[in-house]
Assembly symmetry: C3
């Protein structure tokens, strides 16, 4: 139940970041929806393709695609009449929670296939971060999250995936492992923003 | 038979738009062919991957890949000696017909898998438009079709897919549904260009 | 054994070119690793997806992903303290050998599926070159290898794939065909650089 709330919040936050980026590139509604969709669901899509998990999650759960469409229409309409100014701090917690959740889901799907833990970490990180990478490619810029000097982001996803795998291997309990993943991503992200921590290299 | 003519025309028009864009980016024959290939066959490739339809259509129908190669060589040779100036209006009808046809094919393939109608619309639209999106990514620009203020394009594909699904659901007849899709895409596209109709948001 | 050495060298050279490009774009370690990974393993990943070969090669051989990670960390650390200047000529031979090897592998995998020889050539070329294309897309530039006036690169991969298929069809011997492929790619690449040969169109 709580995980569902986090997932919905996470998708909304990701879709919203796609919408704003599309707007900055003067896109119309179709462009806005495409970028929002890819930002929110792109990482999971790549994970499903790489792991040969079919049907892809949003093909059998159309509510994701429909929900992002409704959000795109409403946001685009609102943006015609007034600016939406979101302080980055307002979204940092739901975004970090979602980062942890997606990392856990990606790592869990990979572990089901008995792949190496290193590959499971990659799958968690890809699930959590490649939507944003696709957003930036579509909007013709070098992906933000890879920029040196930025706050930790992919690193939080990666650490969360590592934590998921450690706890899952030790306890064989998905719920505990997912919780540990959420806490890791959120704590690391908040610490990074608060104390201006970046990767040394 | 008529559908085959439209399909060949559509592939030729898409490949040609890829060739011209590659030329504008000073690419050599290999680059030209790659961009032409992706523009013409990229949308269907993404659809096949997303729907887990294997072998991918052009892997078992090499005539697509060969035909685009021949077109690329001939066009590149001709372009060395003289400019080719195509008035946008000359290609608008075959392009719009192809848009309707690809939308119908994408939606039909999705319907075979009993997915939600919303997902079938997305698959039709992706089939018809993502080749152009891949062309623009490869040529390092923000995809044209998403630009606010442009004539309707992805919207035509989307409407055609909706029409295909409505007629197919009502009549269970693929030929009627595909015809309705072709007419919808072409009419909407021509109206958009003629009366300068764009998406309001 | 020799093929293994060539493969490792090829991956290292490709990963290294990704690392340097990521550095030029001021990426941090995560960005460096992502670009290095995609450059070295992206072509084979696309090939596996297009041919529906699962599990994808690096999912069951994590040593590829781990090796590139170690190389990324070491190179990023070294680059903090001193510049690495690699003369292009120093890597031209391992890079060309790897080009020939990947072309052979891609063509061989396609031939196993009894696809047309034209498609097998495409698969060889994609395997050998699309990592570099993905690197350039991720770093927001028009792919280098498609630029008119550049030395032959994709053409070497393509010729190597053709040679692999010819020798394999004639002799049914993978080792001879792979050797012919390696020699073709390397000879053509060296001739192109030495005598400044480019595609006429």
């Amino acid at each position: 139940m709580l995980l569902t709330v986090i997932e919905i919040l996470g998708i909304a936050v990701a879709a919203f970041s796609g919408i704003m980026e599309a707007k900055r590139n003067s896109m119309d509604l179709i462009g806005i929806y495409t970028v929002a969709f890819m930002t929110a669901l792109g990482g999971g899509t790549i994970r499903d393709i790489l792991l040969n998990r079919y049907p892809i999650f949003w093909v059998i759960h159309p509510e994701y695609a429909v929900g992002i469409f409704i959000l795109s229409v409403i946001t685009a309409l609102v943006l015609r009449y007034k600016q939406i100014i979101i302080r980055p701090y307002a979204i940092i917690i739901p975004d970090a929670l979602a980062l942890g959740l997606y990392s856990a889901i990606g790592a869990a799907y990979a572990m089901e296939l008995n792949v190496s833990w290193f590959i499971a970490v990659l799958m968690g990180t890809i699930t959590a971060t490649f939507g944003g990478v696709m957003r930036d490619i579509l909007c013709n810029k070098v992906p933000d999250i890879f920029k040196h000097g930025g706050h930790l982001y992919a690193t939080c996803a990666l650490s969360a995936a590592v934590m998921y795998i450690l706890v899952k291997s030790a306890t064989n309990d998905h719920a505990s492992a997912a919780t540990a993943s959420l806490i890791t991503a959120t704590a690391l992200r908040l610490l990074s923003v608060k104390f201006d921590i970046t990767l040394p290299i």
